[in-house]
Amino acid sequence: MEIRALLSALWRSRTGPFLVAAQVALTLAVIVNVVYIVQQRLADANKPTGIDLDNMFWVGIETLDANYNQAAAVPVDLTYLKSLPGVVSATTVNILPQWWGRMGLPFAANPKQLDTPNGGVPGTIYFGTDTFIDTFGLKLVAGRTFDANAIVQPSSDMASAIATWAPEMIVTRAMAQKLFPNGDALGKTVYVGLTNKSSTIVGIVEHMQAGPSPARFEQFAIQIVIVPIIPAGPGGTFVVRTRPGERERVMAKVEKEFADLQPGRYVRRIEAYDETAGRLRQGSRASAIILATVAFFVLAVTIIGIVGLAAFNVTTRTKQLGTRRAIGARKFHILRYFLVENWLITSGGALLGCVLALAAGIKLSTMYQTPRLPLYYLVLGVALVWVVGVLAVAIPARRAASISPAIATRSV
C-alpha cells in the first residue's frame, strides 16, 4: 500500500489532521474519565438497601400537647397501624433509614477497646420495636427478633434514651463480622461507647443500608445496630410495610385517620419509602445524567470535526482522485486510502488521549479519593474512538470513491 505517499500527503496539509487528532485526544480523555465516574456514581446509588422500599411508607406525627403521653400513645398507634387491612407490619423509629440524618456510636467486643484511640467499630444506630425486622423486610440470618417484653419505654429525650440503652441488639452481618471476625457474634455481649452500657446480640440480619454512600464510606452505611427502644416523644415517626399493591390505599387511610388517634396531633409528613430513598440518590443520578450528556456532546462535536475534515479533503482532492481512478486505482483503493488516513489521525489522537486520560484520572482519583482509573477503560476508549472514526469517515470516503475517472479529463 502507498503508505509513504499517504504520510507525505498528510504532512503537507498537517493543520487539519493535527486539529482532529487533538480533538480526538481530548474527547478520549473526557469520555474515559466521565464514563468511569458515572459508572461509580450509579453503582453507589444502586447498591442494595436490603429494605423492601417498594411496599413501605412512613408517617411523621407531631403534637402540641404538653402533657402528651408517649409511652401510652405509641402502642395504640402501632396496634392501629398493624390492624389495617393490607398492612404486613409496622414499627416506630428514631431516625428514618435512607434519610439525611444518622446517629452513630463506637461499639466493641471488649470494653477496653473503647478507651483506646479510635477504638471500637463505628455503628449506625436505629431504635425500633420487635417488628422492626419484619417492617423493613430485612432477612434474619441468625438468632431471633427482639423479645416484645424487652422493649425499652421512651425516655424524656434522645440523650437519655441513649444513656438508658437496651439489653438486646440486632446487628447487620457487616457489623457482626467487624465486631467478631470469627463469625460467632450471636449471643455475645457488645459494649457501647460514651454510655458505659452493653447488650447482647440476639439476631443478625443479612444486610441493611442506612443510605447510599461512596465506596470509601460504605462501612458507615452498612454497619448497623438496631436496639429495641421506643424513641423519645412527643410524636414520632412510624414505618409501615404493606402487601404489594395495597400501599396507596393504606397511605390514604392513615393520612386521614392516624393523627386523630390522640387529641392535638397532626401529620407532619407521609411519604412512600421508595420516594424517600430516591431523593437521597437524586444528586448522584442527576450528576450522572449531566456528565453523560456532556460526554455525548463532546463525542458528537468530534464526529463533526472528523466528517468536516474528510469532506473538505474529498472536495479539494476531487481532481487528484479522478486522476488516480483514471490511471487504474479502483474504488476500493480510494476508500481504503481515506479509511487508513483517518485511522492514522485518530490513532495519533488516541495515543495522546491515553496520556491525557491517565493524567486526568490520577487528578480525579485524588480529588474524589476513589480507586485509579482501570486501564481497560483506556482500551475500550481507544476501541470506541476507532469505531466512531471509521463510521464518521465512511460517508465522505464513499463519496470520494464514487468520483468518476472522467473528472480527470475535464480541465487539465
Partner: protein, 455 residues
C-alpha cells in the same frame, strides 16, 4: 467598510449552510457547556457578606482527643467547626470583639394564633442577641433583643418574613403572640427577605445552601426548654458521656456555631491570643489534649474550609472548559476548510486590488460573526440547560416546603446574572477569534496567482 465585510460574511455563511451550521452549533454547544458550569460554580463560590470580609470571623477550637486521625476526613488538620457549650459560654464573655454570637439550630412545632392554619414543624435558631447586627439582618418591623433578654430568658421571638406572612398574613405582628413548643412568645421583630448564599453562618445543612430559619429566639431558652440541636452534634472526646440533656451540654461534644465581629481587623490577633490563653488554661484541667490549633477565620477561609464550592463544581468547571477547547479546535478546523475552499474567490479579490489586510479583515469579520451567532445560540442553550438542571438537581429540595424563599434560593443557584452573561458574550467572541485567527491569517498569506491559474 465594516458593513460590507459583514454582508460578505453573511453571504459566505449562506453559501455553505451545512458547514456554517456545524460551526455555529459547535461554538454554541461549547459556550453553553462552559456557561452552565460557570453559572453553577459562580453560585457556589460567591462571598455572602463582602463588606465584612476582614472584620467577621468564625471561631473554632481543637477540642479533639489526641488520637491519630481516622483517615476519612480530607483535612484532619482542621479543628472541629463547632464549639462545645462550656467553651462557647466562657469565651462569649470576652469584650475584644464588638459583637459575639453563639447559636445553633433547633426544630419544633408551631401552633399559630390563627386557628385556620394547621400546626406545623418549623426551624428555630436559638441565638444570642448580637446575631442580627453581626450578620446585617434587615428588619421590616421591630428589632432583635438585648443581651439581658438572653439571660432571663425573655419570651420574645423574631420571625422570618415568610413566617410572618404565613401566621399573620403580612400584617405588622410586633406585640402579637406565637406558641412555640408549647410556650408563648411575643413577636418583637420581623426580618425582611434575607437569604445569604451560601448560608455561611451555619453550613451544616444541605451542602451549605439553605434558607434561614423561620424563628429566632434568645439563647437562654436552650436550657430553659431543653431545646436539643437539630444539626450536627459530634462528641469529639472519649471522655464525653451521654446521660441526659442537662449533662450533654456540659460534655466535650461540639454543636454550637460561634462568630465574632471586630471593630478593626487588627483585633483578630488579640482575640487569637485570648482564645489560645483560654485553651492553654483548660489544658491544665485535662481538656484539649492536642497542641494549640484554634482557628479564627474570616468568611472566605471559612467557606474554603467547608469546601462549599465542592469537587463536583470544580470538576464540572474543568469539563466545561475542556469542552470549549474541543469546540474551538473543531471550529478552527472547519473554518480552515471553509476558507481554503473559498480561496479562489479571495484570490480573485486580491487580483482585483484588495490588499492582504482587506482579505484578513474580511475573514476576521466572518469569524466574529460566526462567534457571535454561536455565542447567542449558546446563551439560549444555556438557559434551556439551566432550566433542565433546575428540575434535575433541585426538585427534591422543594418537596414538602411552602417557603417561597426556597424556590428563590433554587432559582439563584441556576441563575445567570449580568456578569455571567457578559462573560458568555466575551467568551464567544474569544472563541470565534481564537478559532478564526489562524485560518484568516493563512488565507491572507496565499499568493493570488495560485488560484487564478486554475480558474
Amino acid at each position: 467598510m465594516l458593513m460590507h465585510d459583514v454582508r460578505l460574511a453573511l453571504r459566505s455563511l449562506k453559501r455553505n449552510p451545512i458547514l456554517s451550521t456545524l460551526m455555529i452549533g459547535a461554538i454554541a454547544v461549547g459556550i453553553a457547556a462552559s456557561m452552565i458550569a460557570i453559572t453553577l460554580y459562580h453560585a457556589r463560590s460567591g462571598h455572602p457578606i463582602p463588606w465584612k470580609a476582614d472584620t467577621l470571623y468564625a471561631v473554632t477550637m481543637d477540642l479533639r482527643d489526641d488520637d491519630p486521625d481516622q483517615g476519612f476526613s480530607e483535612h484532619p488538620e482542621y479543628p472541629p467547626f463547632q464549639l462545645a457549650y462550656p467553651d462557647a459560654k466562657a469565651v462569649y464573655q470576652s469584650d475584644i470583639p464588638v459583637r459575639s454570637v453563639m447559636m445553633y439550630r433547633a426544630g419544633r412545632v408551631v401552633a399559630p394564633e390563627n386557628r385556620n392554619v394547621k400546626p406545623f414543624g418549623a426551624t428555630i435558631r436559638v441565638t444570642t442577641a448580637d446575631f442580627f447586627q453581626t450578620f446585617d439582618v434587615p428588619f421590616i418591623q421591630g428589632n432583635g433583643w438585648s443581651r439581658a433578654d438572653d439571660e432571663s430568658p425573655a419570651a420574645v421571638v423574631v420571625l422570618s418574613r415568610f413566617m410572618n406572612d404565613k401566621l399573620f398574613g403580612s400584617a405588622n405582628s410586633v406585640g402579637r403572640e406565637v406558641t412555640l413548643t408549647g410556650k408563648q412568645f411575643r413577636v418583637v421583630g420581623v426580618i425582611d427577605t434575607w437569604m445569604p448564599q451560601p448560608k455561611y453562618y451555619d453550613l451544616n445543612a444541605s451542602s451549605g445552601f439553605d434558607v434561614p430559619e423561620d424563628f429566632f429566639i434568645p439563647f437562654g431558652w436552650m436550657q430553659a426548654l431543653k431545646l436539643g440541636p437539630n444539626g450536627n452534634v459530634n462528641c469529639v472526646s472519649k471522655r464525653a458521656k451521654i446521660e441526659s440533656f442537662d449533662a450533654f451540654i456540659t460534655q466535650d461534644c461540639v454543636w454550637l456555631q460561634f462568630w465574632v465581629e471586630f471593630r478593626k481587623a487588627s483585633d483578630r490577633d488579640r482575640y487569637q491570643a485570648f482564645i489560645d490563653n483560654y485553651v492553654s488554661d483548660q489544658k491544665r484541667h485535662g481538656r484539649f489534649p492536642r497542641k494549640l490549633n484554634n482557628r479564627i477565620v474570616n468568611v472566605q477561609t471559612w467557606l474554603d474550609m467547608w469546601d462549599v464550592v465542592g469537587d463536583d463544581s470544580r470538576m464540572q468547571m474543568g469539563l466545561g472548559l475542556v469542552f470549549l477547547v474541543v469546540c474551538v479546535l473543531n471550529t478552527l478546523g472547519l473554518m480552515l476548510a471553509k476558507f481554503l475552499s473559498a480561496a479562489p474567490i479571495s484570490g480573485l479579490r486580491r487580483a482585483l486590488g484588495a490588499s492582504r489586510v482587506d482579505i484578513v479583515r474580511q475573514h476576521l469579520v466572518e469569524v466574529v460573526v460566526v462567534g457571535l451567532l454561536g455565542g447567542f445560540t449558546g446563551l439560549l442553550l444555556t438557559l434551556g440547560g439551566l432550566a433542565a438542571l433546575r428540575v434535575l438537581l433541585f426538585s427534591g429540595v422543594l418537596v414538602g416546603s411552602d417557603n417561597p424563599d426556597r424556590v428563590a434560593m433554587v432559582q439563584a443557584m441556576v441563575h445567570m446574572d449580568v456578569p455571567v452573561i457578559a462573560l458568555g458574550i466575551a467568551l464567544s467572541l474569544l472563541t470565534g477569534v481564537l478559532a478564526g485567527l489562524y485560518p484568516a491569517w493563512r488565507i491572507g498569506r496565499l499568493a493570488p496567482a495560485t488560484f487564478l491559474k486554475t480558474q
